[in-house]
Symmetry: C2
Amino acid sequence: MDARTDTRTRTALPRALRLDTGALRGVVGFHIARASVTTVDSFDRHIGTPFSLSKVEFSVLLLLLANDDVSPKALAQALRITAPKLSLLLDRLQERGLLLRRPNPEDGRSQHLLLTRAGKQLATQTAAATQAMEAELNQRLSRAEHAMLIELLDKLAGASPA
Amino acid sequence: MDARTDTRTRTALPRALRLDTGALRGVVGFHIARASVTTVDSFDRHIGTPFSLSKVEFSVLLLLLANDDVSPKALAQALRITAPKLSLLLDRLQERGLLLRRPNPEDGRSQHLLLTRAGKQLATQTAAATQAMEAELNQRLSRAEHAMLIELLDKLAGASPA
DNA sequence: TATTGTTATACTCTATAACTATA
DNA sequence: TATAGTTATAGAGTATAACAATA
């Protein structure tokens, strides 16, 4: 398929407008920033817009779907967001009837977060939607490259400090 | 008594609670977001803080160092930022004496951006600083993995390098 | 005294709309 | 009428500080 006939306009720039990346060529962070334009755009179309979820809200739903008795503290660490940010985010998800905050019986300061029936349903729907989202990326990456990319990104992110 | 030392109700599980990433495991965008925490932190320490530059400001300097007669329009497209955002960004760099805006003799609506002597010096300094920055990442990635990662990210971005 | 979670506030980044000047 | 660049405004996203409840 000719790149010129690609229907998505955000991805391909006319050759004349492409700049020499110069010293940025070897800077991983620069290439990550560029690639994230693609992934964020894909997320918005497949999940963000149709389900009215931000990237972090989506991540929260899927993490709660896969883990029991998660506290806000643990979530904030896993997602690298601050506690105040998460607090407001959980408020919004709770107002939408997607999750509940239950007191931790073993520690009155802490909470257990759990998805409601509607929350589990939405989480499952969005999890299914990731299939089409990743399949779209596989127009550019083979399945092996896709897996390799994730492996290298994880190495770069490093095992989160214990 | 410190709960940490109370072994009666604790299992052998470590305190560090890493969550199951669940359906996020195969989502490239999620891993990109995690990896960018590492690269942004590294950028801030090596370049952002010591040179008082944002990521985009740094990218502008290096792109202008590598390309002549660049217009704001071309820069905005290359960096995927909006024209108003770039306009304010160029104001700041100009106030710092790092670049100039010259009218395009062939089109009165357009401009040519060029680095001042100080701008070239700073761009060169930061370009040199990327060596240490990337070397630090190579504690986690071999040189081959580093190159492979950039190649895969470029494929994903659809910005095939020249 | 330390920790969990919340509220309040501010700062950055980014997007959209309206404006100008040129073509 | 269309394009390049600017100005103005508003909306997310994120960070820090102060607070309440519990350990």
